[in-house]
Amino acid sequence: MTTETIQLLTPEGERVDHPEYPLGDDVDIKGMYRDMVLVRRIDTEAVALQRQGELGLWAPLLGQEAAQIGSGRALSAKDMAFPSYREHGVAWCRGVDPVKVIELFRGVNQGAWDPEEHKFHLYTIVIGDQTLHATGYAMGIQRDGAEDEAVITYFGDGATSQGDVSEAFAWASVFNAPVVFFCQNNQFAISAPSDRQSRNPLYRRSSGFGFPGVRVDGNDVLACYAVTRQALRNAREGQGPTLIEAFTYRMGAHTTTDDPTRYRLASELEAWRLRDPIERVRSYLARNGLADSTFFAQVQTEADELAAKLRAACLALPDPPPLALFDHVYAGENAILDAERAQYAAYLEGFAEAAR
C-alpha cells in the first residue's frame, strides 16, 4: 500500500487513524464482520451451485467483501445504489434477498427485486452503462431538492476505459450531481491487468474532470466505510461527485467460466491472501477483546444455515411459464406482440391436445 492509500485497519488487524476520516465510536465493526462472513458464504455456495449445474453463471465477489460491505453500510436508507453485476455484498446491505440474486444467475428471470423498494438498481452487465443512470438519478435528486439523498454507483477498473464512464464523470462534474463513483479496482478486467486500462492510478482520473478522487485500501472495511460515508455526505451537502478507487483484489475467477491460472501467478494470489478483508477484522476483534470464540462460531453457524437455505430455495425455483415470455415488454398495447403470444399459445395447445 502506498502512502496515498487511505487505511484505517492494517492487514495485521491494527487500527490506525487518519485525520480526514475519523471513524467515530458508533461503528458496528462486529456487524461488518458478520456481513462479510455471510456474503462470502453466499458466494461460496453460489459457486458450488454453478459447479453442480444449478446456476448458469456466477460472478464471485471473493476478496471484495470489505469494499462492498464497507461502502454498502455507509449508505443511508434513502441513498440509491447502481451496481454492476458483482455487487452481491452491496445487495445484501440493501436488504435484497440473496435468492433474488440467485434467480438472475440461475436464469429464471433477469432481475427480480424492485429497485425503488431496496434503493438498489438491477444489475447492469454492459460495462459502465449504470454510471450514467446513477448520474441522471442524481440530477433528479437535485431537481427534487432532496438534500438528504445521494447516489452511489459501482464499477470496476476495466469500466474506466468505457466512454460512458468518462461521460458520467463529465456530466456529474458540470452539473455538480450528488453521486459517488465507487470503482473497485480488483486488478483485472477478466484477464487484462489494470495497467492495460490506465497509466495513471485510477483515482487520479477525476482530477481532469474537476472533482476529487481518493484511493482507499479496498480490503479494509473500516476505511471503505469511512471514505464512502464522507463522500456521500459531501454529495448531499452540494459538494458534487467524488471518485473512490477501492484498491482490492479479485481472489476468485472473473466468473465461473473463467480460468485465472492462465493470466496470473499463484504467488500473487498468495500475497493478497495475507491482506484478506475478513481475517484482519477478526484479528482486530479478537485481539482487542471485542469478540470471543462464541461470537465467531455463531456467525459461522449462521452463515452455514444461510447457505443451506439459499441452496434449498435455489433448487425449488420453478422455471418461468412459457407464455410469461411475452409479459412486461410494453406498458401499452402492441398488436404484433399480442398476435405472437396468441399464435404460440395455440401452438403449445396443439401439443397438449396431441397428448390427450
Binding site: 433477469q110 433528479g140 466512454g163 456530466w171 412486461h328 415488454v329 410494453y330 406498458a331 404484433i336
Partner: protein, 327 residues
C-alpha cells in the same frame, strides 16, 4: 385553428406537455438558449427554466443514459438527438438499457422517455445529417417507434409520445420542418388518433401506397398526379413503425389488391420487407401483384449533389405503381 410550421407545431406540443406535467423535461444539445438547431425547442428554456429544459454536454450516450436515471427518479425526459446520424453513440443505452428495462424488471421499472430524432435527407446536408435509421429501433423489442408527417400530426403525436409509459423513438421529417398547415391547438388530446394507429391520408381504390414521415407528402403528390392517368391511389401514413398497424394496412390492401411501400431508408432489410411479408401472409388471395418497395439503395447515404437519385421522388413512386399494374 392556427397555421403552423411542423417545427412550430412540435414546439407547441412540447410546451403543452411541459405545462400539463411538471415531471416532463427536455434535454439535449443546444435545446435551451439556442432553441435547437431546428428551433423546435425555441423559447422553452426561457419559460420553463434551466432545470426543465437542459442544455447538455455534447455526448449522445449520456443524454440517453442520464435520461434513464432521471426516469427512474420519476421524470419524463424528452431527449433531442440533433441529427439522425448522431444517434449511434447512444445506441447502447437505447438498445441495451432503455428498451429492456421494463421487461427485465418484470414491470417494476417504467422508462417513459421520448427520443426525438430529426431524420431523412433532401436538405443538401453533409454526411451523417440525412439518414433514416428507424429500422434499427423497430427491430428492438421494448421500444415504440413513430414518425410524424405534418404539423397537425406533429402537435398531437409528440404529446401522445410523452404521455406514453413506454420509451418512444420519435422521428421528425427534417425536410418538412418548414411545411405549414392548419393545426387545432385547442383540440383535446383525447380526440387524437392513438399513437399505434395508421391513418388513411387519401382514400383510393386501385393501389395502396404505404409511407411515413417525409414520404407522406411525396406519396400524396404522386397520388394527385396519378389521377391524370385515371388511377385512384390510397395513401396511408403508417405513423407507428413499431408496432405496425396491420389491421388498417390489411383492410386497405384487401380492397385495392395492390400495395407499394415507400421509405427513404434502404430497401434491403428495411421496414418495407417486414410489411411486404405480412401483407403477403394476410392478403395472399386478394393480391394482384407482389408488394413492391421504393426506397434508398443498398449504399451509404450519398453526397448531397447526388441525393436526388437516392431519394424516392414522385417519378420513382409512380414507376413502382405502374409496375404493380404490369403483373
Amino acid at each position: 385553428m392556427t397555421r403552423l410550421t411542423l417545427s412550430r407545431a412540435l414546439n407547441e406540443g412540447l410546451r403543452r406537455s411541459l405545462e400539463t406535467d411538471p415531471k416532463v423535461m427536455i434535454m439535449g444539445e443546444d435545446v435551451g438558449r439556442l432553441g435547437g438547431v431546428f428551433r423546435v425547442t425555441d423559447g422553452l428554456q426561457k419559460d420553463f427554466g434551466e432545470h426543465r429544459v437542459v442544455d447538455t454536454p455534447l455526448a449522445e450516450s449520456a443524454i440517453v443514459g442520464t435520461a434513464i436515471g432521471l426516469a427512474l427518479r420519476g421524470y419524463r425526459p424528452v431527449c433531442e438527438i440533433q441529427f439522425d446520424g448522431f444517434v449511434f453513440p447512444a445506441t447502447d443505452q437505447i438498445v441495451s438499457q432503455l428498451a429492456k428495462m421494463r421487461y427485465r424488471s418484470q414491470g417494476n421499472v417504467a422508462l417513459p422517455i421520448v427520443i426525438r430524432i430529426p431524420f431523412g435527407g433532401g436538405i443538401g446536408a453533409v454526411e451523417h445529417h440525412s439518414e433514416s435509421p428507424e429500422v434499427f429501433f423497430a427491430h428492438t423489442a421494448g421500444l415504440r417507434v413513430v414518425a410524424c408527417a405534418d404539423p397537425a400530426e406533429a402537435f398531437s403525436m409528440i404529446q401522445l409520445a410523452i404521455a406514453s409509459d413506454d420509451p418512444v423513438i420519435f422521428f421528425e421529417p427534417k425536410r418538412r420542418y418548414w411545411d405549414r398547415a392548419e393545426v387545432d391547438t385547442a383540440a383535446p388530446l383525447t380526440d387524437a388518433l392513438p399513437l399505434t394507429a395508421a391513418r388513411t391520408v387519401l382514400p383510393g381504390d386501385d393501389v395502396t401506397l404505404l409511407c411515413y414521415g417525409p414520404m407522406v407528402r411525396s406519396c400524396l403528390e404522386a397520388a394527385i398526379a396519378a389521377r391524370e392517368d385515371g388511377r385512384s391511389i390510397e395513401v396511408i401514413d403508417l405513423r407507428s413503425l413499431s408496432p405496425i398497424d396491420m389491421a388498417t394496412i390489411g383492410a386497405s390492401v384487401a380492397r385495392t389488391s395492390r400495395c407499394v411501400v415507400v421509405h427513404e431508408a434502404p430497401v434491403y432489410a428495411g421496414l418495407g420487407a417486414e410489411i411486404a411479408a405480412r401483407v403477403t401472409e394476410q392478403c395472399f388471395y386478394h393480391l394482384e401483384a407482389p408488394v413492391l418497395r421504393v426506397g434508398g439503395f443498398a449504399i451509404p447515404y450519398p453526397a448531397a449533389r447526388a441525393e436526388d437519385h437516392y431519394l424516392p421522388d414522385l417519378d420513382r413512386i409512380l414507376d413502382a405503381v405502374d409496375r404493380t399494374f404490369a403483373f
